[in-house]
Amino acid sequence: MKMNRLCLVALAAMFAAAPAVAADETLTIGFTVSQTGSLNNDSVAQMRGFELWRDEVNANGGINAGGARYKVTFVSYDDESQNMRVQQLYTRIIVQDKAQFLFSPYSSGLVATAAIISEQYGKIMLTTSSAEQKTYKLGNKNLFQVYSPADQYLAGALLALKERDARAKIAFVYKDDPFSKAVAQATRDLAKADEMLLALDESYSPATTDFGPIINKVISAQATALLGGGHYADGATIARQLHDQKAGLKWVTLLVAPDTPKFAELDDAAVGISVPSQWEPQVTYKPDFGPTAAAFTKRFNARFGIEPGYHAAGGYAAGLLLQHAIEQAGSIDPVKVVDVLNQVDVTTMFGRTRFSTNATEHGLQLGHQMVLAQWQKKNGALVKEVIWPNEAKTADILY
């Protein structure tokens, strides 16, 4: 419904803005979106990033591959946030809809299943939202990870914390799901290597709604810092209950949850909570091509009426990277495009991008760094500021 209306608007915009040079052929990119099911919120955000890129590219005459201009079209289906449909749908996308390139579904689990099909047919798939490293260690040749892998998620937070207080007692409290667990394990190893103090290490079931017991445990362990969380609902609850139960922590970094604007609804409970993010609208990377983060944010806001989060930014970046690779290769031949992608080392509004060419972990993202954002009170209103890394920060750390 909404998508149809937007498509019409996009179509109209394309015709209105079409320059003299018209596109000759079409390039089909396929992917699945979680229109229904638990992942739908973030998956749709990601799709909007794709769409914005597509419409801008087409408005500029399409992708220029060695003289031929290609208009980009998408073919996408609902994967219901479930593995079961993903293989069937990707097979359809490749075999019936004849997509030449692929974007990934949303979430590591679905991407792993799609990867088997994409690898089978030798199609390039740029993955967004897939931070789980296991996916890239299975012997692939055509996967390219746009996001930072899971073990990088809290690395920045740990460094920032160490800088502030190397004697902080850390409690790891994280959701028992593939993503959060992977992040927690990697971070724990880093913390141990850095000789930081571990007060508590607990995972909670995804169905947990009451974090009172765990928070009591955190208080018992006399922790001063907390790292972990999972996705929105649990992260928001933890933040709220930490505040209500006066846990008195000096440093709290939660995954994913504090990154959405909705987190501001928690009011006082949100102050001081930091979140690692793949991207924030305020970052000041200088891109080699494509718009700056600020320009992207403005365009996205104008088109969809809301601020883009990193899901949308990641989607947009995937499009940019694919376009860049095709244009550099001068053709849409997958072999040539893979070659270019394997050697790429560029900066876009999303950050630096460089893929691993090591056969055992092909496609793993090496260049991108996570930023750390924190909710602070500015003139009485809650805003999110970037506090780490120092190159991209907009405010000082609140401890």
């Binding site: 739908n40 169905a207 006066k246 909705k262």
Partner: protein
């Protein structure tokens, strides 16, 4: 030691709300031998009810409760006539499936309307602090309201004519009919009551935690465990069962990783079902 006491106390508070959630389920089950698999969906709609009344219309959080009770009752009666009435006498499988179908429809509509985004209602109340552990005001109020509603339910069932009629139909429908009780109407009201209880428990839960359209499932499962602990058809047992479950959760958390709690809960569930099918708190049917 203090940590354990705090954990247990907190568990009991939340347990009272679990108990309230289960009361609706057990009432319907006891009166008409129907397991309402739409229970979770109704809890979620109770949560959304609070969201719309409180956040959108500006009604103070706890004042929305009577509104939700009335709406829940009406919805329950409607549901009875739509989905349950025809399958009452038949094999249990049928009512299981019909209520499940209702569940699918409700969740499907909910997802289409609200998507799976999380919603939150900020309710802040001063709590009690003791030795470094705080019992949030919202937990205390929620437990109190749950207990109050349970008390009201007891009064309804035992001190009013309607309550008597419900208990009569629960005991022996045929005999009740012979006594001139309009059993179909009574069944509809009992169902409405059960749904209203589920909805209001959702409202209370919404004051404690954020929720999404899919949150109901977890509470439905907990309600099953509580219902079995307390004995089917026994609302007082349900409250006690809920508190017991909260207690068990509170006792377990200091000693084992929290992720094992659910395994223990379900193991408990199956054991109680096999060993004590009438429930651990089986008083004579009230």
């Amino acid at each position: 030691m203090i940590g354990i006491a705090a954990s247990v106390a907190d568990g009991v508070l939340v347990g009272a709300v679990y108990g309230l959630a289960a009361m609706g389920l057990t009432l319907i089950w006891g009166v008409m031998n129907v397991i309402n698999l739409a229970h979770g969906a109704i809890i979620v709609f109770g949560m959304f009810g609070l969201y719309f009344l409180a956040a959108a219309l500006g009604v103070p959080a706890y004042a929305a409760i009577p509104g939700v009770i009335v709406l829940g009752f009406v919805a329950g009666v409607a549901l009875y006539w739509i989905a349950v009435h025809r399958v009452i006498g038949q094999a249990e499988l049928m009512s299981l499936l019909s209520t499940f179908a209702v569940n699918m429809v409700l969740i499907g509509l909910g997802t289409a309307l609200f998507s799976t985004s999380p919603y939150n209602i900020p309710v802040s109340l001063p709590g009690l602090t003791w030795e470094g552990y705080t019992f949030t005001g919202t937990h205390i109020v929620a437990a109190t309201i749950a207990a109050a509603i349970a008390g009201l339910l007891y009064l309804l069932l035992h001190r009013t004519r309607v309550g008597k009629a419900i208990r009569a139909v629960a005991g022996n429908r045929g005999a009740a009919e012979l006594c001139g009780i309009p059993t179909r109407r009574v069944l509809a009201m009992a169902f409405g009551l059960g749904v209203a209880l589920a909805a209001v428990s959702g409202t209370l839960i919404a004051t404690l935690f954020p929720f999404t359209i899919l949150s109901g499932e977890a509470y439905q499962l907990k309600s099953f465990v509580v219902t079995v602990l307390g004995g089917l058809g026994n609302p007082a047992g349900a409250l006690l069962g809920g508190i017991a479950l909260g207690l068990v959760e509170g006792l377990m958390t200091p000693f084992m990783p929290v992720s094992w709690t659910s395994v223990v809960e379900f193991a408990l569930f199956v054991i109680v079902l096999i060993g004590y099918p009438r429930g651990i708190f089986a008083f004579s049917r009230s």
